[in-house]
């Protein structure tokens, strides 16, 4: 009777997870574990599904715990296929937690067993997982510094090159197997790896393949991802017009899918692209759209970015009053979210704008306006002496001439 009860609970858990309600599924699986079973293969399946449910719920510590239980159990009962699966899941979880070295060991185990069992599907999936771990590892190290894609230290480059190799190997295998969905995933992540490596032409080729497959499946989310990634790659190729076309398609799909966060990102990307095209009116239009959604979603960091971008665009148009308004908001938000470099940038922008505004005010014999502007924007936190110091820093912020040439 108890045996049936554990099974019944687990079956309900499976049904709920399949229906997309992982939270409720977890309760049933945990109840099933509470009841317990003598049958270790059933228990292994419950642990595995609990791990996956927690993974999808982004509770990675719990996911780790259950996938680890599953691995131990699979080894105990000598279930080699079960061990391979548990290793793969453990590897994916360790990757998300940033433990790349252990993740690699687990994913490699998944690969080794799959090859031993001549399980081609398992082998392909393990190769994809390994690619993902090396990609994350590379991206993680890269994001610690401030590099543009393509300007990478050796360890980052090595990790990303390994990722690319695993994705290529996966692609060969899933092409043999005729698994188009898996091909789509591999092309997408391969494209992103080439992007980080600075191989923007290869990135475009891969994302174009991804787009093709997404359309075959009518997978709008994947289609939107491909457009967005194609936009990013074209920005780095200096083909801003093409980039803007792809970002517009991203925006269109984001609206269709009613995903406000993605819509905001698309508007932001479009704002930046029109800035690069020096069409500041359009840039302002999109940055304002981004600002509205950021406020709606209570995304203070996004709001700060929008203000910074708007300040820049208004400065470019010579609308210094609006520029000042947004630079002040940028400063306020940077302080609030504790963004030190944002705060410095905002101060520098304000100090520059004050210079311009102050000088134009003084030509109008309005000396009062000059001192007022200066006083309110410093909020009394810094005396006038600080200004010279920030102006010196300003020189450091200037772009190197070759950069300007590249992006103009």
């Amino acid at each position: 009777r108890m045996e049936a009860s554990c099974l019944e609970l687990a079956l309900e858990g499976e049904r709920l997870c399949k229906a997309g309600d992982c939270r409720a599924g977890v309760s049933f699986f945990e109840a099933a574990v509470q009841v317990g079973t003598e049958d270790l293969k059933t228990l292994s399946a419950i642990y595995s599904q609990l791990g996956n449910a927690y993974f999808y719920l982004h509770e990675y510590a719990k996911a780790l715990e259950y996938h680890h239980h599953d691995l131990t159990l699979a080894r105990t009962i000598g279930d080699l296929l079960g061990e391979a699966k548990a290793s793969g899941n453990l590897g994916n979880t360790l990757k998300v937690l940033g433990n790349f070295e252990e993740a690699i060991v687990c994913c490699q185990r998944h690969l080794d067993i799959s090859r031993e069992l001549n399980d081609k599907v398992g082998e392909a999936r393990a190769l994809y997982n390994l690619g993902n771990v090396y990609h994350s590892k590379g991206k993680n190290v890269a994001s610690a510094g401030t590099h543009d894609p393509g300007e990478l230290p050796d360890d980052v480059k090595n990790a990303l090159q390994k990722a690319a190799n695993y994705y290529e190997e996966n692609l060969t295998l899933v092409t043999e197997l005729g698994d188009r969905a898996a091909q789509g995933r591999a092309f997408g992540n391969l494209g992103n790896t080439h992007y980080l490596l600075g191989n923007f032409r290869s990135a475009v080729l891969a994302h174009e393949q991804r787009l093709l497959i997404a359309k075959e499946f009518g997978d709008h989310s994947a289609e939107r991802r491909a457009y967005s990634n194609l936009g990013n790659a074209h920005v780095f190729l200096g083909e801003f017009q093409t980039a803007s076309e792809y970002y517009k398609k991203t925006l269109q799909l984001a609206r269709q899918l009613q995903d406000r966060a993605v819509e905001a990102q698309a508007c932001y990307s479009l704002g930046n692209t029109y800035t690069l095209l020096q069409d500041y009116e359009k840039a302002i239009d999109y940055h304002l759209k981004h600002l509205v959604i950021a406020q709606e979603l209570h995304d203070r960091i996004g709001e700060g970015r929008a203000c910074w971008s708007l300040g820049n665009a208004y400065t470019a148009l010579g609308n210094h009053d609006q520029a000042m308004h947004f630079a002040e908001r940028h400063l306020e938000i940077s302080r609030e979210v504790g963004d030190r470099s944002g705060e410095l940038t905002a101060r520098l922008n304000l100090s520059d704008l004050q210079m311009v505004l102050g000088l134009s005010y003084s030509t109008n014999n309005s000396m009062m306006a000059e001192s007022q502007v200066a006083d309110t924007s410093w909020n009394g936190t810094r005396p006038r002496v600080g200004r010279r110091h920030s102006m010196e820093n300003m020189e450091l912020m200037k772009l190197t001439p070759e950069k300007v040439q590249n992006w103009n």
């Binding site: 595995s48 993974f55 599953d70 391979a84 548990a86």
Partner: protein
């Protein structure tokens, strides 16, 4: 001071964009992870299948 202000404004304009900061904001969109799945139903149905096959064969044998 007018030409100086104009010069300042022009210089300010040249400092705007394109900046590295802009490009870093672009979100890279990754494909989803694939997790390996196990199911109690697989095992359960195998068990049932086993007994079903058994009952069928035993019925046949009985006939």
């Amino acid at each position: 001071p007018q030409p100086l202000a104009g010069h300042q404004a022009a210089e300010l304009q040249s400092k705007v964009v394109p900046s590295k900061q802009i490009l870093h904001s672009d979100n890279m969109e990754m494909e989803p992870e694939t997790m390996e799945t196990k199911s109690v139903t697989d095992y359960f149905s195998k068990l049932h299948m086993g007994s079903l096959v058994y009952s069928c064969t035993s019925k046949r044998k009985n006939k």
